[in-house]
Symmetry: C2
Subunit: 152 residues, 2 copies
DNA sequence: TTGATTTAAGATTAAAAGCTCTTTATAATC
DNA sequence: GATTATAAAGAGCTTTTAATCTTAAATCAA
């Protein structure tokens, strides 16, 4: 898998929050997110703690607490989430795992891989939460881990 | 990491074998491969067993034994190795990890990801061992896990 | 001010990936 | 035949990732 499971969950949850915030204000509880998306509550809590620490979300304890986007949804990209959770390694690592691979000491796939990798990065960078959450709503795209029919 | 470590090692070893076979015939011992590439002998043995079982390599026990390419080097692509070791999952999996994601029930990144993924697959498919091993030799590209100067 | 609700934090467990060790089977050479 | 070199096979250890459990801290509302 190209992204870690934590990163998958972090993206799905952030998209869900962005979608909610199109019509309501205030915090979204992690319990609610975990139920809607079918993600373990405690695991999701940890992931969202990371996003909070990275300044992408705000959190609030107590009743009516939860998390919300710390910036405008069109100022947060999927790339921001990937960086926050998985780091930037996937955009710098050698595809054959050679330490120190780069333009100076390239592995046999370095230049081709660098191109694909750049496309991947562009893809993540051009997807804002605002735009993507909009698509999710208009096109009724999936966000949850449920398979068709299994709950909603 | 996009490919497993086992897959990295399998590719590096196969390229080394292809390079050797440009000038010599017969088997290349796994011990030799593991020393040249700085890869654990037992681990590499297992990986190459898989490639042998998949019909990509031939093996031979006893003195002067080892492994050799089972087909002509221009008839083996890096994609063949990836399929044999990691399977085809990375070319079918959802980038957000949603089960059953596809054209019918797409996740919010499905179509963009499908494109990047196809580029990645093309990249692996167009790299034959013959061509790549040639480049390694002509351009003195790296194959081993050693960092510069550490043995060479 | 007490109780309920919620995130924070850290310890623990489970599963997967990566790696090592030992033994066995086979083949070549002397 | 005995010895040595080699791959095959499988058991088992280590590290990383994923997930769970427990307790603490903060906040709100009655």
């Amino acid at each position: 898998m190209i992204l870690s499971r934590a990163c998958n969950y972090g993206i799905l949850a952030s998209l869900y929050i962005a979608k909610e915030e199109r019509t309501k204000t205030g915090y979204t509880s992690i319990r609610h997110l975990s139920e809607e998306l079918n993600i373990s509550f405690h695991f999701l809590t940890k992931i969202l703690q990371t996003l909070t620490a990275e300044g992408i979300l705000h959190s609030h304890k107590g009743p009516k607490g939860g998390v919300m986007l710390a910036r405008n949804a069109d100022e947060i990209t999927i790339l921001d989430l990937v960086y926050a959770i998985d780091g930037e390694d996937i955009f710098t690592e050698c595809v054959l795992g050679l330490p120190g691979c780069g333009n100076e000491e390239p592995c046999p796939m370095h230049f081709q891989w660098a191109e694909v990798r750049e496309n991947l990065k562009d893809m993540f960078e051009h997807k804002t939460l605002a735009e993507t959450a909009g698509e999710v709503e208009e096109m009724k795209l999936r966000l949850s881990n449920f398979v068709r029919g299994e709950k909603q």
